[in-house]
């Protein structure tokens, strides 16, 4: 189960995720980003209520980061200790901007 809340303010888009970002739910996030990303220069993820990220989730984050590198910035906020560890182990801490 993944719940995505969107909040768009001009060219800034904030996506608040709650639940699990895994093989089953990652395509849902991918589509959401694809549909909304045109004209966005600032993409923010809020992970306050996100409990779990698997490699399928990382794939979507990496591809979002690649897109945003071409046209603006991407930030991930409020990352739990457990998810931070996943980012550390996979080198994502160095790729993503985590606040």
């Amino acid at each position: 189960m993944l719940d995505i809340k969107k909040n768009q303010d001009g060219s800034k888009l904030e996506l608040s995720l709650s639940g699990r970002l895994d093989t089953i739910t990652a395509p849902q996030l991918e589509e959401e980003i694809k549909a909304e990303i045109d004209g966005i220069t600032e993409l923010v993820f809020d992970f306050t209520d996100l409990a779990y990220v698997s490699s399928a989730g990382l794939r979507v984050l990496l591809s979002a980061q690649k897109s945003m590198n071409e046209k603006g910035s991407m930030v991930v906020r409020n990352v739990s200790e457990e998810i931070q560890e996943i980012f550390d182990v996979t080198g994502f801490s160095d790729i993503l901007t985590i606040e």
Partner: protein
């Protein structure tokens, strides 16, 4: 007001409404009815009480001060709620009026030492107690069921007490449940599954430590049986029996006391233990003794008995008992099984003999013959057995379970839920659970994507937990194309976002989050094993 004295007990009938308008009158009427006598107890019969206000409750409080033995009985559900909300039910004896339930034409689905269980409708069953004055038994059973539930044993707790004919019953919610006896009788191909679930629950009961003083000690009960037998066995065997029972050390682990397949229910996918009134603590040999009786002892001389009681035949019962011992003990070694069975038979026959003698069996020739047979067996067993203690093979202690499921991505949630349930049962931390979930997801999704592509096939997910230190071992087995996911090189995690390929991280993450991952291809199966200490 109607007031009736019975010896030194006075019963006063409350009627209609008690509120600020009449509470003072009610109070003085009660005091007047009791007069100068000192009642042993005062019972207020509230069957026809429709309403009580706080003014009414206040007079009950005052009366209770004056007559400490005051109790209120036969309250309607509505008025009872007022007493419950205000805390009166905690303070004094307050009892509800009992709903009347008929069991005529209802199916008997269970039977225990102290009562029988009937299904009264689709969602409810009632346990009717043999003892007509069963309110204390009901209270006891409710307390022990609650205790068992808190200690992690899945059971049903009754939510209502009812009148059934001249006796009492407790009502349980039990949706579409089926007893294991019925499954064994009607679905013979589920025999092995029944044994596994039955033994799992048995181990779970025997592995549950109970706080001191909460349950009766079965050792004391069995000592009293052995003492009884002193007058009915030759001196040598009699003394040996008592000495062997006394040599069984105190054990604070739970035993059910009447563990047979009518007391295990399948409700949806959940296995529930019922009929908890015999719950005790003690050495498992005492449990095996009553189990031997349930499957073999009671019906050894008349095979029709088991058919009537359990619905399956004596051959099935004996086979079930034997397989249960094998699984419970974790061995198929015939000598080991027989030696443990002998210990169970000693307890079982002792109980049967005592029971029959106490019910006048010695005066009835047919039953005397049974007693003689059991006694002969018992003496022979006592001759070749020196201890009632036995060991369960430690590999039998592992909590093991497996899921056989179609390997498709859509089933991931089910696989994760299955694994998490096992992990939660052993108190795994959230962090370890997430790390294990990660690895399980990667491996299962890998199988779903590649093993049978473009066809479909199944995967087995097996979870084993061993204790001290707690180690979780998860094995994935599929019969797809040989493929070692561990053979791939680890990704370079130092590359920048733009240089990194999308994907390829899954197996790497699984490796990072587990203590060990191994792969082998054997007999046409891919076998991948994850191990983690938690």
């Amino acid at each position: 007001m109607n007031a009736v004295w019975e010896n030194d007990t006075i019963r006063l009938t409350l009627e209609g409404r008690i509120d600020s308008g009449n509470s003072a009158d009610v109070e003085s009427e009660i005091i007047e009815a009791i007069g100068d006598r000192t009642p042993g107890s005062v019972a207020l019969d509230a069957e026809r009480l429709e309403y009580i206000s706080s003014a009414g409750l206040r007079i009950i409080l005052r009366l209770r001060k004056r007559y400490p033995s005051l109790k209120v009985m036969n309250l309607s559900a509505e008025v009872y709620e007022v007493f419950e909300m205000t805390g009166f039910t905690e303070m004094m004896e307050v009892s509800k009026a009992y709903r009347v339930v008929s069991i005529e034409g209802c199916e008997e689905i269970g039977r225990g030492a102290n009562g029988s269980i009937y299904r009264i409708d689709k969602d409810n069953v009632v346990k009717v107690y043999n003892n007509p004055d069963a309110l204390e038994d009901i209270q006891h059973e409710r307390e022990v069921a609650r205790l068992a539930l808190i200690l992690g044993i899945p059971t049903a707790i009754s939510y209502d007490v009812v009148r059934v004919g001249d006796s009492y019953g407790s009502v349980f919610e039990m949706l579409n449940a089926e007893s294991f006896s019925k499954i064994l009788a009607t679905e013979p191909d589920k025999f092995e599954w029944c044994v596994e679930e039955y033994v799992d629950m048995l181990k779970r009961i025997h592995d549950t430590a109970v706080p001191a003083g909460k349950l009766p000690d079965m050792r004391e009960t069995v000592i009293s049986w052995a003492e009884f037998m002193q007058d009915y066995l030759p001196e040598g065997p009699a003394k040996k029996l008592l000495a062997m029972v006394e040599a069984v050390p105190h054990d604070d682990h739970m035993i059910h006391g009447d563990y047979h397949t009518k007391n295990l229910e399948l409700q949806d996918d959940e296995v529930l233990l019922i009929d908890m009134d015999t719950l005790a603590v003690g050495n498992p040999v005492f449990e095996l003794g009553s189990m031997f009786n349930a499957y073999v002892g009671f019906s050894e001389l008349d095979h029709e008995i088991i058919k009537k009681f359990q619905g399956f035949d004596f051959e099935t019962a004996s086979r079930f008992w034997r397989r249960t011992l094998e699984c419970y003990l974790g061995t198929t070694d015939d000598d080991v099984i027989r030696s443990v069975e002998d210990k169970a038979r000693i307890i079982g026959y002792t109980r049967l003999i005592r029971r029959s003698i106490r019910r006048g069996g010695l005066e009835d020739p047919a039953r005397k013959a049974e007693i003689d047979h059991w006694t002969e067996e018992l003496i022979e067993l006592l001759g070749k057995t020196d201890t009632l203690l036995f060991e369960r093979n430690s590999s039998g202690d592992k909590r093991r379970d497996e899921l056989d499921i179609e390997a498709v991505e859509e089933n991931l949630s089910e696989v994760i839920a299955f694994v998490d349930k096992k992990l939660e049962a052993v108190g795994c931390s959230m962090k370890s659970q997430m790390q294990i979930d990660l690895a399980v997801e990667e491996i299962f999704v890998n199988i779903a994507k590649y093993a049978y592509n473009p066809d479909k096939g199944r995967a087995i997910v097996r979870v084993e937990v061993s204790e001290e230190p707690i180690q979780v071992k998860i094995t994935f087995i599929d019969h797809g194309k040989p493929y070692d996911p561990l053979a791939k090189d680890d990704p370079d995690i130092s590359l920048s976002a733009d240089d990194r390929p999308i994907g390829g991280l899954g197996i790497f993450m699984a490796k990072q989050s587990m203590d060990d991952i191994s792969y082998e291809y054997k007999d046409g199966s891919n076998i991948l094993t994850l191990t983690k200490n938690i």
